[in-house]
Symmetry: C2
Subunit: 228 residues, 2 copies
DNA sequence: CTATTTTTTTAGACAAGACTAAAATTTTGG
DNA sequence: CCAAAATTTTAGTCTTGTCTAAAAAAATAG
């Protein structure tokens, strides 16, 4: 049993965001990157990084960013597990839209209860993915990433791909995707990439032909299905 | 639309506890009573009462306790609504025991979402009472108290009564009631009140004959059924 | 390779919410 | 009615997490 010093919501948030920014590759995370994502000033970040380093949750070297320790990572993953399970609950049981769950889940992810999350997981029948297509870590913190996932912005032209995830951070993006009828599982035919602005000429299978900006395409995860 | 200044968890807790202590009769609440219930020092209470008074959530006069304003009361009732709905969720959907829900609900009651609570209410099919038998305020803040409810400690001898509520504050009480097989809806035959310590000789209908201490009997709400 | 720009850290301040110790007020008991 | 006891408030301190402004280090450009 490690010492179960409990963290504040704020500390938990920092760990979560460090995890998210560092990505699968576990890169070191810069102070400014955190300030951006957390909407605070760099000086506040520095303060907190010192505290987290004291608690052995991150490695931190002045002017050289930080990275999670094993302990810090396992806490971060736990928070992400909670976040994604709650999102799943909100969508599948309370019929929230996928664009409405993020803010509420940001609050719910900090509820402390040994029992609650496992019961919720069970109640939801052990879902593997959340409403945005992101994998839900299991009880032991294992995350099974979809190895074949790429960004729509990077997919080749003249291919058919399937939408497997969308970035959940922006409500307005999700609303827009809703409007154009793009969902998880949708097929997308990629016809052409416009050199000028990187936008894509596509067809949502069973739906409309249209152009998607590069920025939108960067926030959509797909897997390759076939050449056209 | 009133100004929707949002309150901290702490402020919400104060309002909730002021409501609970003042009871149906809306009595003024003393500083010490709050300190006891909130497990803080009286000086901390004074500080907070000043803040709440500034925000017009309570009436406060030095050395004379406080009482909720209309605005404060409606916020308190909202928190209680959330608390009781979450408890109901935990017990009826996640199969928590009635003795396990209080602490988690104390956290969940502070989740802020316009939509969440109404959706939850709907999901639970608009329950009228929580797992401890307390009434759940409706969307508009109306609470329908059971007018016929008395404390078991005060019920007459040689009567049959029905358990309609138990105080939820103490996990150990609830566990004990579980052990002796006492539930909401249980019938209790009250045979005798021992003058020495106020304990009661009872029979749980369909269960055992036994003695209940006065302290336990004070925490059980019942309604009269018939004379024996 | 130095000068400027960018990033990061330090120093000092503040608000929230708690605490302790001491002072003030109210209540109570003879 | 006055003295002791209980309650409540004030004053000053602490921690957490944020901020601004200024200093320090690193990165970049000519």
């Amino acid at each position: 049993m490690a010492k179960e010093e409990k963290l504040t919501h704020s500390e938990e948030n920092y760990l979560k965001v460090i995890f998210q920014i560092s990505g699968q590759s576990r890169d070191r995370v810069s102070t400014n990157a955190l300030a951006d994502k957390l909407c605070t000033k760099a000086s506040s970040i520095t303060d907190m990084l010192k505290k987290l380093a004291d608690k052995k949750l991150i490695g931190y070297k002045k002017y050289n960013g930080c990275e999670l320790t094993t302990k810090g990572e396992s806490i971060a993953v736990e928070i992400i597990r909670k976040h994604r399970l709650w999102e799943t609950f909100l969508v599948s049981k309370l019929s929230f839209g996928w664009d409405e769950v993020h803010d509420v889940a940001e609050q719910l992810e900090h509820i402390r209860s040994l029992k609650l999350i496992d019961k919720l997981d069970q109640f939801l029948d052990y879902p593997k993915f959340d409403p945005h297509g992101d994998p839900i870590p299991d009880k032991d913190g294992n995350i099974t990433y979809r190895k074949s996932k790429i960004r729509l912005a990077e997919s080749a032209v003249n291919t058919l791909v399937e939408v497997v995830s969308v970035d959940e951070d922006s409500q307005s993006l999700l609303k827009y995707l809703d409007e154009i009828g793009l969902k998880l599982g949708s097929g997308i035919k990629v016809f052409e990439r416009i050199p000028f602005d990187g936008s894509l000429k596509i067809e949502i299978v069973g739906g409309q032909k249209m152009y998607l900006s590069e920025k939108v395409a960067e926030n959509i995860g797909v897997r390759f299905i076939e050449k056209l």
